[in-house]
Symmetry: C2
Subunit: 428 residues, 2 copies
């Protein structure tokens, strides 16, 4: 039997303690599966005195994660601290410089510095693994990098921020406005210290950029992700979308076309009876579309101690078993610099607006759409509330630019009350 694989664990929050628990509880199981033991040698966290409800007495303690990363008695540096800069970055760089493999749950670090880190690892023949960085317990990095490696990928989609999906689901089920549910989520501890990481789509955008790099063989380019959060989603739109057979999700979509690489993390309508439309609460879902396999859907918990630690341990066990491959599935030096698509793939759009109760109002809107080359698939006009008529339109496929152009011209019709809402309908 081979020597034990020795871990240095940086970060003893929820995920770090989850890793400790699995390593301790499943020592025999992991040894059987790896044909060698996996042990924790040393740990680090800011505060040694904090009660963590786990027995850490057998592990050496480092206050500085950089010192942990450099220890001679670790083989793998496990980084579950978080943060794209500062100690997480310094310690990860130090680990690679000291010849250690890295397992990380840090999506922000890789979204911002993935290419440089992958090149540093490659130069030394080291591995960086990050299953826990995307969609929690769902083994999606493995499914995409290895399980679908025989496919040219067509599109990758995902609901990858459980907090946003919780908020949108709760708004619909309880009929509550965004601000109320946001406050509930804050009090339940579902939100990051900076809530914009969640509701602004940034966290989910980080994840999407990592999936896109693997799927399309390109350098991570988080800066090119089109980001739009859920803060502007109204209960009205959730209800009207439901009337039309749709649900609103914060949906990540990455696809490669003749126009270049598209990466979007924006609110979208999806059919209520699709797997994405049926996804309720904090659960995550990733949809992988390949030219040979068709569509694969993966669903599971996107956060929490057990699921995230499960993903960390999958990477650790791969390394213990000697399963190693390049960070993003092929040599970092071969990853292409992606050309960002300037125009998104056309899609149907959901439009909601309120019209003055005047003869010909609707005709003016329809004409404006037609003049912009946008045809109408379905339209629904509701009973007049206070003299004004709410109107819903589902268009045929159009580009976002065409939709924006048409909406810009609605004002000139003089029949609109307030601002119209336009949300992309992603065809799933």
């Amino acid at each position: 039997m081979a020597a034990p694989l020795r871990l240095g664990l940086a970060g003893l929050g929820t995920v770090g303690i989850g890793v400790v628990r699995i390593v301790q509880r499943h020592a025999a199981l992991i040894e059987a599966r790896c044909d060698r033991p996996v042990v924790i040698t040393a740990v680090s966290a800011r505060d040694r005195t904090k009660n963590r409800d786990a027995d850490l007495s057998a592990y050496a303690w480092e206050t500085d994660p950089v010192a942990l990363a450099r220890r001679d008695d670790i083989d793998v540096f496990v980084e579950v601290m978080g943060g794209s800069e500062g100690p997480a970055k310094l310690a990860t760089e130090a680990a690679l410089a000291a010849g250690k493999d890295v397992v990380t749950a840090n999506k922000a670090l890789l979204a911002h510095h993935g290419q440089a880190l992958a090149e540093a690892a490659e130069a030394k023949g080291l591995a960086i693994r990050f299953e826990a960085a995307v969609a929690g317990g769902i083994p999606v990095i493995k499914a995409l990098t290895e399980g679908l490696a025989g496919n040219g990928m067509r599109r990758v989609m995902g609901v990858m921020n459980g907090t946003c999906n919780y908020i949108l689901t709760r708004m619909e089920s309880a009929g509550l406005p965004y601000d109320t549910v946001f406050e509930e989520a804050r009090q339940l501890g579902y939100l990051e210290a900076d809530p914009n990481l969640d509701v602004g789509g940034i966290d989910a955008g980080h994840k999407l950029s990592l999936l896109a790099a693997i799927a399309f063989g390109t350098r991570v380019s988080f800066d090119a992700v089109e980001l739009e959060g859920i803060g502007a989603i109204s209960i009205d739109d959730i209800r009207h979308a439901a009337d039309l057979g749709f649900r609103i999700k914060l949906l990540g979509v990455a696809q490669m076309s003749g126009r270049g690489l598209e990466q979007r993390m924006t609110p979208c309508l999806v059919p209520m009876d699709s797997p994405l439309g049926q996804l309720q609460g904090g659960t995550n879902m990733v949809v992988l579309e390949g030219d040979a396999v068709g569509q694969i859907v993966l669903r599971g918990p996107g956060a929490g101690e057990g699921p995230t630690a499960s993903a960390v341990m999958a990477d650790v066990i791969d390394l213990a078993r000697g399963l190693r491959l390049p960070t993003f599935g092929q040599r970092a030096s071969r990853l292409a610099v992606p050309v960002a698509a300037k125009v998104a793939t056309p899609a149907p759009y959901y439009l909601r607006m309120t019209l003055l109760d005047k003869p010909g109002a609707l005709a003016k809107i329809a004409t404006t759409l037609g003049d912009a080359g946008i045809s109408i698939d379905r339209m629904r006009q509701y009973g007049h509330a206070g003299g004004n008529a709410p109107v819903l339109i589902v268009t045929h496929k159009a580009t976002g630019a065409d939709i924006a152009h048409a909406i810009g011209r609605f004002a000139a019709t003089g029949v609109l009350v307030g601002d119209p809402v336009a949300i992309r309908i992603e065809e799933v």
Copy 2:
């Protein structure tokens, strides 16, 4: 760059030609992902003259798959012929004896001879990979063996025969009886030459036994799978189950308890709003439950040229990348001989029966159930058709043995018309 990985491809049916197409179409992509080329050197099939709509001119031809398996110019023997005995078995054994890794789509072969083949491979340091043998394009072997390797597995479930799910879905949507839809499926070419492999649950049972071996670290024991096909499912039961909020699926369940290893491939009711309940048509779904991760659901095409070839190629690419692990996730010699559970985990049951329209009939049934220790969760009595009353009962949790015992005693009540139906409700 390393030398090419050379494949010998045995079987040029739908899946084999799918593999040829991927290797040819994605040569550059696969080379980038593996850092080496993957090539087909030689192929074999029964009939060389058959038109296969693929260019095979560059490949050496062997009529005998055993000869193919022994060729010096192949590294990996890819077996997509099928059949648990005969040429597939002989050729796979020959490949291992000749020092070749094996990639196979053959669930029957592994369900019957998995332990012996795994031991033969282990003795020579070779790999047997079989992603394509279970759930077609869904990378479930990888998800279970590697992605969830940090988990003690609690339960594995799956709808893994698309033909059965097509038949059950179509019966419900079209309101047609089993025999009619079975005949439709036959004419559409959805059924195996021996339809009992599909509708008898054998094919899906093979798959379940492979998942169970990996999940619980036990030797494959297909003979211990409780098998029941879908031939006895009536349109009445599909309708009544729907009334109660359930759908009927041919569901595989493997779980390890204090009673031992349970493996069942039987019709079950599942909640209509669960992912399993929502699965329509020929699509497959596997549910993996681990003690750290909770529940992971994987959904995708379970058959067909592209999906199955995608899975074969995932295994091939793993080997080209040097990713190797034991056949069932740990040393074959360490796999335990499972103790088959004699009694299945208790579950709620759906009961349907027709009672004579006599005072006290229902009371007699309820009393009989109570005497057998079975309590009633819900009951529904329908309008009397021709004087007799159809009754549906959902019980609280009971063992299958208790249910069978109670049903045996129904006859003595003298109030029953025909035989009652009992179907397990799997809690998902």
